[in-house]
């Protein structure tokens, strides 16, 4: 928790309604996302029970596994999900723009799940389907392993900070609003929406309490309410199992479908309502840039699936894992920095900690030139800008800072001195002034200008040098064997 988000929670608790912690939207929202609300059977290892899925709010598809312990029925579910999922995902591949470093699709698919547990479901369902073979004893529909590889791709992207390929509704909401309850309770989508968008006549706490009552509002899954399991689902599955006359099967299935529909529909509606709330916010300036990265990754994986298409390994080797961690840290740092630069309310956090400050320019030495330090008496332009601020600045001399409205210009802190009302911060502009000796017009701040400078920058995390995969030290398991799916992978029991 940060100072701002904690204070916002206090505000929300006092007012009984959620308060904003962002003024712009920091996630990309696709024009036509695919919503997936999965349910799994309690106790089993990610056994799908049902799902509501689709791109149209009014026309969700309901998929049901009448007996989740039956392997064939699970794979039939996977095949049906693939029928919906694959055409949607592959539908973005054809429309391509050529860039200097290769092609990139102009848009990408977006899969939205209700919560973090939904993301975990997708990851495990991808894991349980991507190794299947389409021949031999355990043959499945050809679409099943494809589905598995794509789901795995989405699940891996979901771990990357700032990616919008598979966001969870709860995470998106929590990024933009603070409730008057704990983060733990915010994991309940219905309770969270109760604070953000309470039904008429109720306040946040009342709506959240109602939302927590499974008789009033089914959990957003994938785990179902134990009461529902014991009282409704178990008898309905038993009735299905007991059918001996095939003509009675449709009725038994219908009973299950109705039961599961009642558990899925409220969550389905909530996810769409969450999207409504998020769409009202104007998009942050760096959102399209991050979506471009998502589009590139999508394009890359699509190409990989055509050219090679082997399933992703069960686990990363040591070097791959370390690289991945490093990539994650950098993605996190740049995501944090970008959000702050896009949004004064996020920047407010850095202002509280003194890593950023808002000040007004009181003096400028615009044409200052200094030796470039590389001899030969060459001079470079290094204007000095002095700002006065009342913020609790905690910067050190030599630190790099950038202003939110002058993102292309790096400055270095050269002096910090207290004055009668606050602190005088002097910065030396390093670049972004054009090529000629005198700074280009408008490229240096002017007296009277009000600017917010931050030292929380995207390139904050240094990447450690990593050995090549084939040089993995034996302490880390030695060089990884290139991954080939084995007999064992495909024969793996899925009882």
């Amino acid at each position: 928790m940060t100072a701002i988000s904690s204070y916002a929670r206090a505000l929300a608790a006092a007012s009984g309604t959620a308060v904003p912690t962002a003024t712009v939207r920091h996630v990309h929202l696709a024009a036509r996302p695919l919503i997936l609300v999965p349910l799994a059977m309690a106790g089993e290892a990610n056994a799908p029970l049902a799902a509501m899925v689709g791109t149209e709010r009014e026309r969700p598809e309901l998929l049901v596994v009448p007996q989740p312990r039956n392997r064939d029925l699970r794979f039939a579910f996977a095949a049906r999900l693939a029928e919906i999922f694959l055409p949607y995902v592959l539908g973005f591949a054809a429309d391509i723009e050529e860039l200097t470093n290769g092609p990139r699709t102009v848009d990408a698919p977006q899969l939205i799940v209700p919560n973090q547990a939904g993301v975990a479901f997708v990851r495990l369902f991808g894991r349980s389907t991507r190794f299947r073979t389409t021949t031999g004893d355990y043959a499945v529909e050809p679409s099943v392993p494809l589905l598995g590889r794509w789901l795995t791709f989405f699940a891996e992207r979901a771990e990357v900070p700032g990616s919008s390929l598979m966001p969870a509704a709860t995470e998106m909401l929590s990024l933009h609003w603070a409730t008057g309850q704990s983060a733990l309770e915010d994991a309940n989508l219905a309770a969270l929406m109760g604070w953000i968008d309470p039904p008429a006549g109720a306040d946040g706490p009342a709506a959240a309490r109602l939302a927590e009552d499974p008789r009033h509002c089914p959990p957003a899954g994938p785990t179902t309410d134990p009461g529902f399991d014991n009282e409704v689902l178990a008898p309905a599955i038993a009735a299905y199992d007991a059918v001996t006359d095939p003509s009675q099967l449709p009725d038994a299935v219908k009973r299950l479908e109705e039961a599961l529909h009642s558990q899925l529909q409220p969550t389905w509606d909530l996810v769409w309502r969450a999207l409504d709330r998020l769409r009202v916010l104007p998009g942050g300036a760096s959102v399209p840039g991050r979506w471009e990265v998502d589009r590139s990754r999508y394009t890359g994986f699509h190409t990989y699936m055509i050219e090679e298409g082997l399933p992703q390994a069960r686990r990363d080797g040591a070097v791959a894992a370390a690289r991945r961690l490093n990539r994650m840290e950098r993605a996190q740092a740049s995501y944090d920095a970008e959000r702050a630069f896009d949004d004064p309310l996020v920047m407010a956090d850095h202002r509280v900690t003194g890593e950023a400050f808002l000040g007004s320019v009181v003096a400028v030495d615009r044409d200052r030139r200094v030796p470039n330090g590389r001899g030969k008496g060459r001079l470079v332009t290094r204007p000095l800008v002095t700002l006065r601020t009342e913020d609790p600045v905690r910067l050190a001399l030599g630190m790099k800072v950038v202003a939110t409205r002058r993102r292309r210009q790096e400055c270095v802190v050269t002096a910090l001195e207290p004055c009668d009302a606050g602190i005088l911060v002097t910065l030396e502009a390093q670049n972004g002034m054009g090529r000629s000796a005198a700074p280009a017009p408008g490229s240096v701040p002017e007296v009277g200008e009000s600017l917010c400078y931050s030292s929380v920058l995207a390139d904050g995390v240094r990447s450690a040098t990593m050995p090549e995969a084939e040089d993995t030290p034996w302490t880390h398991g030695g060089p990884p064997q290139p991954y080939e799916p084995s007999e064992q992978d495909t024969a793996e029991a899925w009882e």
Partner: protein
């Protein structure tokens, strides 16, 4: 109080009164494990020591807990345990061998494994009293350490003193290796997929196993005879096939030891309570407790709670305590509370932030930061693009 009555007796009789006529709810491994989370809560400390049925109490005061268990999960758990123990546990022994790294099967001079384990069942026999079963399984445990074959004892009935009271505990399995080293084995039905399981579930299983280790150590009186390496048996990947994982529970043992020692503090807690305090849930003719909810609620308010959101996942009284904690920063989570300078209530936080309340000496620093935060929050909100979200009347970007 009568002369000669010990503190312990006095506490004991007070606790009896607090519980009333209902039979005591004893601790089990799960509730002991829960002690290590939120140990500072006096309310739970007293109620647990008295053996009050917290679930019933919560229902009675209008805040029923939501700890239902799905039939599907129970069935799966039973099926898996049966499968693990099938075939005389030979398979299981091979897995122990792999995960414990040495030869739990013992090695004969020729280098071959000593073969099948000796199976002892500790499960209840018809008409057997708890005491008899305890005696029987303890005897079995003691003789087991003398054999040269590995011994597996299913469901031995152990005993552990918790807060001055004996608690019965039933580990799934205890493995005794030739040479006499004991390992606690827990069978759990959550899957380990590609070598990874859900962290929370593993943590819960580890602390529970640590409770058994502790009980076994105290029972045998030889701490070094019981290994701090416990074995967790879970289904592998998406199958029902078991796999064994070794877990070192030394850290959990330390925490437990510490918590159990603290439980004696119940004496002091109880001594400070009004002598007539009771949560007697004696049922009336309709089977429901006769004591009015208001009286029970009033009683609860005599016991200091220390609510944190974590309570929601471990204590039956959580909804009630959360209700009481409304308006307190602790209800927003420990890290939020900390960010708010540890100030007790939301109202105080906001007043300090607005400068309408004079901070106490030790609130000065927190108040300073809260004022800054409030100022930055308002400025940040106002500087954002004007939307309905950012409360439209705050004006456009400056």
């Amino acid at each position: 109080m009568h002369p000669g009555e010990s503190v312990q007796d006095r506490t004991e009789s007070r606790l009896d009164r607090i519980r009333g006529s209902a039979p005591p709810r004893r601790h089990d491994a799960r509730t002991i494990a829960a002690l290590t989370r939120n140990p500072g809560c006096a309310r739970r400390g007293v109620l647990d020591a008295a053996g009050v049925d917290k679930d019933l109490l919560a229902r009675q005061v209008g805040f029923p807990a939501a700890f239902g268990q799905s039939r599907f999960a129970i069935v799966r758990g039973n099926v898996f345990e049966a499968r693990v123990k099938a075939d005389g546990c030979v398979d299981l022994l091979r897995m122990f061998h792999e995960c414990l790294g040495s030869e739990p099967g013992g090695t004969e001079p020729g280098g071959t494994a000593a073969g099948e384990p000796l199976l002892v069942t500790g499960d209840a026999e018809p008409d057997e009293t708890l005491a008899a079963r305890h005696e029987r399984t303890v005897a079995a445990l003691r003789t087991a350490s003398g054999t040269d074959r590995p011994v597996l004892i299913t469901h031995p009935l152990l005993r552990l003193a918790v807060g001055g009271q004996d608690v019965h505990l039933e580990p799934d399995l205890v493995l005794v290796r030739p040479g006499g080293l004991f390992h606690v084995v827990e069978i759990k039905s959550f899957p380990v997929i590609d070598g990874q399981a859900e962290g929370e579930k593993v943590a819960a299983a580890a602390i529970q196993a640590a409770v058994y280790v502790l009980a076994l150590r105290r029972l045998l009186g030889r701490p070094d005879a019981v290994s701090h390496d416990v074995v967790l048996v879970c289904p592998r990947d998406f199958s029902n096939a078991p796999m064994a994982t070794r877990i070192d529970v030394r850290r959990q043992l330390l925490v437990l030891d510490h918590q159990l020692a603290r439980l004696s503090a119940v004496d002091a807690l109880v001594a400070a309570l009004p002598p007539d305090l009771t949560f007697d849930l004696a049922p009336g003719p309709d089977g429901r407790p006769t004591r009015p909810a208001a009286e029970l609620a009033a009683g609860l308010s005599r016991l200091d709670a220390r609510y944190t959101p974590d309570c929601l996942s471990m204590c039956e009284l959580a909804f009630r305590c959360r209700h009481e904690a409304a308006g307190r920063t602790a209800a927003l989570g420990p890290s939020v509370r900390e960010e708010l300078g540890g100030v007790e209530t939301v109202a105080e936080v906001l007043e300090l932030a607005a400068g309408t309340r004079a901070p106490t000496a030790d609130q000065a620093e927190a108040a300073d930061r809260l004022r800054t935060t409030a100022r930055m929050y308002a400025a940040g909100l106002a500087a954002g693009p004007a939307t309905e979200h950012a409360a439209g009347d705050r004006g456009p970007t400056p």
